[in-house]
């Protein structure tokens, strides 16, 4: 294609820049423009107009929590070993949670190791302290909260409040689930994983909670999404994992 059929293509330049061509149409125009200086000049001329469109949007202040979540993931991805450098207790709990998940991956439940798990650990010491307020690893004893959280769902935070042998699990920032999926909590005691009977779903604000009737000896709590009615063993990677010790 040459400049001789420029006019035919020129009328699509605006739609191309606005993202309004079908992918194959866009590809054809790009190929033509490679050999058509007039089209390239039009694209160069009109591009600032399209670049101006997002700049025209009314400015909003993004939530502070969004920045915290993004930077937590970035810092962990960059230097996972430094994330817990100021909190050895958190580092220990984090390591136990990680090991537990790895064991799940090779264990009888057949869960594959979570792809990119290390990069997906989102709620790190600083964020957990901010979001949960109970302090990392501060959950022993009656009425304590347990905190260290790892998981595959971006932004999800959690806390377990334990009182007199039972507990309540609170989640925040959980995405809405398809109508055929529910949240199911699991507890680990002495290496054995068992389901928590009550199934639950997030509310419209992304908050979800469930009772943990028996917290005795529980080492880890995790949550997965499961089909309606729940499962006898986890069938998906945990969206969140909380070490209670």
């Amino acid at each position: 294609m040459t400049e001789t059929n420029h006019e035919r293509w020129s009328e699509d330049v605006a739609a191309y820049l606005l993202g309004a061509l079908e992918p194959d149409e866009a590809t054809v125009l790009e190929r033509h423009a490679e050999g058509c200086e007039r089209c390239r000049a039009e694209i160069r001329w009109m591009t600032p107009a399209v670049d101006a469109l997002p700049e025209s949007v009314e400015r909003l202040e993004p939530p502070r929590e969004l920045r915290e979540r993004v930077m937590a993931e970035v810092r962990f991805d960059a230097e996972p070993e430094n994330v817990f450098k100021d909190d050895p207790a958190a580092a220990g709990v984090f390591a136990r949670a990680s090991n537990w998940l790895r064991e799940l991956g090779s264990g009888p439940m057949g869960l594959r190791p979570v792809v990119g798990f290390a990069a997906a650990i989102l709620v790190v010491a600083a964020v957990a302290g901010f979001a949960i307020g109970g302090g990392i690893g501060g959950g022993s004893g009656g009425g304590g909260t347990s905190t260290v959280v790892a998981g595959t769902a971006p932004g999800v935070t959690a806390k377990v409040i334990s009182t007199d042998g039972s507990g309540t699990l609170h989640l925040a920032n959980v995405k809405q689930l398809p109508s055929d999926r529910v949240l199911e909590a699991w507890v680990q005691r002495e290496g054995e994983v068992e389901p928590v009977e009550a199934l639950f779903v997030p509310d419209r604000k992304g908050k979800a909670s469930t009772e943990l009737p028996d917290m005795s000896g529980v080492e880890v709590v995790m949550v997965t999404t499961e089909p309606q009615g729940g499962s006898k063993a986890p069938t998906s990677a945990p969206i969140i994992t909380i070490s209670t010790q």
Binding site: A15, V50, A78
Partner: protein, 193 residues
């Protein structure tokens, strides 16, 4: 504030990108602080819900963190590149939500109710002033032109879909898009650029 972050704050976006490509979190933090506001605002403008806008913004920035080294300065500014990533992800999110129509007006009460930032850098203050002028320029476009531009850019509709939606010939849609963009470009050339 660390020395590294102070240094990063003095760098232009194009100079930050190689550092981000080398996985420097402080360079990325500066990048986020510089562009997080407009990214979130654009995402909200397209998806129309705070939670979804947060998801889109987070996914876009993490994608940039993971692919920062792939920025090609020959294809435009870092900011435009970043906003195109946000826009694409927001349009994807919009399309994945069945039955949700895009917002079509620049003058949106829900947006205006949002609390504006109290502390602005000079650069951000200038950008907001420019944004106001741009909205004015867009507002002066004939309605038929601004509508096709909004449907395409903020709604993610193709020109064929817009043609069917508005019940006008495809050629008319193309012409309105072109005229609208040319007018905006003309305004930019006269003083907004």
């Amino acid at each position: 504030m660390t020395v590294r972050k102070e240094k990063a704050e003095r760098l232009a976006d194009e100079e930050l990108m190689p550092l981000i490509g080398e996985k420097d979190p402080e360079a990325f933090e500066v990048f986020y602080d510089r562009h997080g506001g407009v990214a979130y605002s654009l995402a909200y403008r397209i998806v129309g819900e705070k939670a979804a806008a947060e998801d889109v913004t987070q996914e876009a920035f993490i994608s940039i963190w993971k692919s920062g080294a792939r920025f090609d300065r020959a294809r435009g500014s870092v900011r435009s590149w970043m906003l195109s990533i946000v826009r694409n992800r927001a349009i994807d999110a919009l399309r994945s939500r069945a039955g949700k129509a895009p917002k079509l007006s620049f003058d949106d009460d829900a947006i205006l109710e949002q609390r504006p930032s109290e502390e602005l850098t000079d650069a951000e203050a200038m950008r907001r002033e420019t944004a106001t002028e741009l909205r004015g320029a867009l507002g002066e476009l004939p309605g038929e032109q601004s509508k096709v531009i909004e449907l395409a850019y903020f709604g993610g509709f193709s020109q064929s879909e817009i043609s069917r939606m508005l019940g006008v010939p495809l050629g008319t849609v193309k012409g309105r898009m072109r005229l609208g963009l040319e007018k905006i470009r003309g305004e930019l050339a006269e003083g907004l650029a």
